[in-house]
Symmetry: C2
Subunit: 342 residues, 2 copies
């Protein structure tokens, strides 16, 4: 005779306690909680009463082990402080908060290798779904996603070859539309300023370039970039560099709004008239762009909506109702403001 191991759980009630109290089998309790429709009204009430009385909460770890599926959404973003991803995360969070799914966060720091490592770590946990930023996974990451055995949503961008599903918009078009707008209102020597040139930034640059070439205005010297992480400070510095390189600059398309703000402040400081001498266009349309003086033209991107929709699609897929169209382009919107109002 071995004495039973003392309750390591510290005395929390288990499903067996509930079953005993309700006078039913443990399985029936389990079913009543997960598929109420399959249990008679009568027992359901009795079980609910026992649950309430004992304050029973199912152990997610035991549940995950037994069902080989954790109620966890794995979310991989390249940055936590970049407000763009913070808003995607908020969208994901809000859409999940009245379900029982938990969120497990991974920060790839814009590194493909780190993304691989995180997918390795997430895998054995058997998440219910994976949401990853971007469409430029390494071959290894892609294989990990394909064999994860759960719905996968790539977010922030759209592309031709989804692992499973995608929600985003075209960064190339965003860059192109921004540049076309500046050309249309009369700017000619339009610079591109970008930091942290991740794949999305590269595509915005490509869109800018396409527009400039189509108008016969492209000049490689107009491009000023750095792999350094983006910041308002950096925007100022890159703008100074750009101006030193091309003194005839009459506009800038900034890779994001932080950069744009840095440019705007530097124009104030150097008494450069905006939009008269220099036009400014940003990207993402953060709240402050509308309030800035002068208000700054930007491309509004549906970050929160991307987060929400990615969860909706993943939940539908879990429920077996895969969307007809696995790739959803949520588009973007050019907001013309004072900074390009010539």
């Amino acid at each position: 005779m071995t004495k039973p191991r003392s309750r390591r759980g510290g005395g929390r009630p288990t499903i067996a306690d509930v079953a005993r109290k309700a006078g039913v089998g443990a399985i029936t309790v389990s079913r009543a909680l997960r598929e109420p429709g399959r249990v008679s009204e009568d027992l359901r009430r009795k079980i609910q009463a026992a649950v309430d009385e004992l304050g029973y909460l199912p152990d997610p770890n035991a549940r995950a082990l037994a069902s080989a599926r954790a109620e966890v959404f794995g979310v991989l973003v390249p940055s936590l402080t970049n407000s763009v991803f913070a808003e995607v995360l908020r969208g994901i969070y809000d859409s999940l908060s009245d379900s029982s799914y938990r969120i497990q966060l991974g920060n790839t720091h814009y590194s493909g290798l780190e993304e691989e490592r995180l997918l390795q770590v997430f895998g054995p946990q058997r998440p219910a779904a994976l949401i990853v930023a971007g469409i430029d996974q390494t071959p290894t990451s892609r294989r990990l996603l394909e064999t994860a055995g759960c719905p996968v949503v790539q977010v922030m961008e759209t592309g031709p070859d989804p692992v499973d599903m995608m929600v985003g918009f075209s960064h190339f078009d965003g860059g192109r539309v921004a540049a076309e707008h500046m050309i249309e209102v009369g700017y000619r020597r339009i610079g591109f300023i970008g930091a942290r040139m991740d794949p999305r930034s590269q595509r915005r640059l490509a869109g800018y370039r396409a527009a400039m070439e189509a108008a016969g205005l492209f000049d490689a010297r107009l491009i000023t970039t750095t792999p350094v992480p983006s910041s308002v400070t950096l925007g100022r510095e890159l703008f100074r560099d750009a101006l030193a390189k091309v003194p005839t600059l009459d506009g800038v398309f900034c890779n994001n709004d932080d950069i744009a703000l840095g440019v705007l402040f530097e124009c104030h400081r150097a008494s450069i008239a905006v939009p008269k001498t220099i036009g400014i266009t940003g990207f993402n349309d953060l709240d402050m762009m509308e309030v800035a003086f002068p208000s700054v033209t930007s491309i509004r991107t549906p970050r929160y909506e991307i987060g929400r929709l990615s969860v909706a699609m993943a939940l539908a897929a879990i429920a077996g109702k895969r969307p007809q169209e696995p790739v959803v382009d949520l588009g973007f919107e050019l907001r013309c403001r004072e900074s390009t109002a010539r």
Copy 2:
């Protein structure tokens, strides 16, 4: 005879596979992985070889169930998009990324009830540690934290009565120092502008009030607040309100930098000279405050460091090495800039 249930796990190698391949018992594999020191060099190598060959990765759910402890840090923040908490989160994440701990995120939306609900949900999972923002938990939340059976770190603030440990700084002092600075450089009719008056904002306001009263300058009409979430846009609007209410206003202490930026932009738009006519002080010292024109005085808060230290303290507590002093005040720093340079 029942046939064994087919491997639901989809054929991932288990600890038993590794044990068989290495010619040892399963428990020895388990130990080799978790407490290498307790296994002989020889076996350790053999086991490592088997692990590598099979690509074995332990199942965290099974581990959590068997050991009644999940390798999860529960993190509760009131907002995901507020860059202050995003930076705390980044600090937490960075400090945890080379351990095997995972992060489970909870967003309380500044709601005590939601915090209670999330703690209820986190509890049964038996997290290794809990990190929660703020010190104003409801009695229920406090009890949940006290009975969680794991280290708890309250972050962002310090106070007299920690649940377990605390890392932060004094918001009251921050508000006081900011106001004292403005008084010292000669401002007299100094307004307080604040949005989303959470407990930390309230304490900053209290600090401001203390300084103003000490200087005999306090006037309730100088205070303009709203429970609405903070934004740059809102900063502009509140400043307009404040100015309409008190036309003789000669300075503002803003509850945070977003508000301060809104005030700055509105000053530009209305051609109000900064710092001559109006002085501006922000709070948190985001990157952009230094770059703004004019650059904006602010209180630098150690957000990232708070995240890092909270994890370090929790890890130490898990390892049984509780810090001598459970409450750590990381302080803050006044950064005087052009916006108050009279």
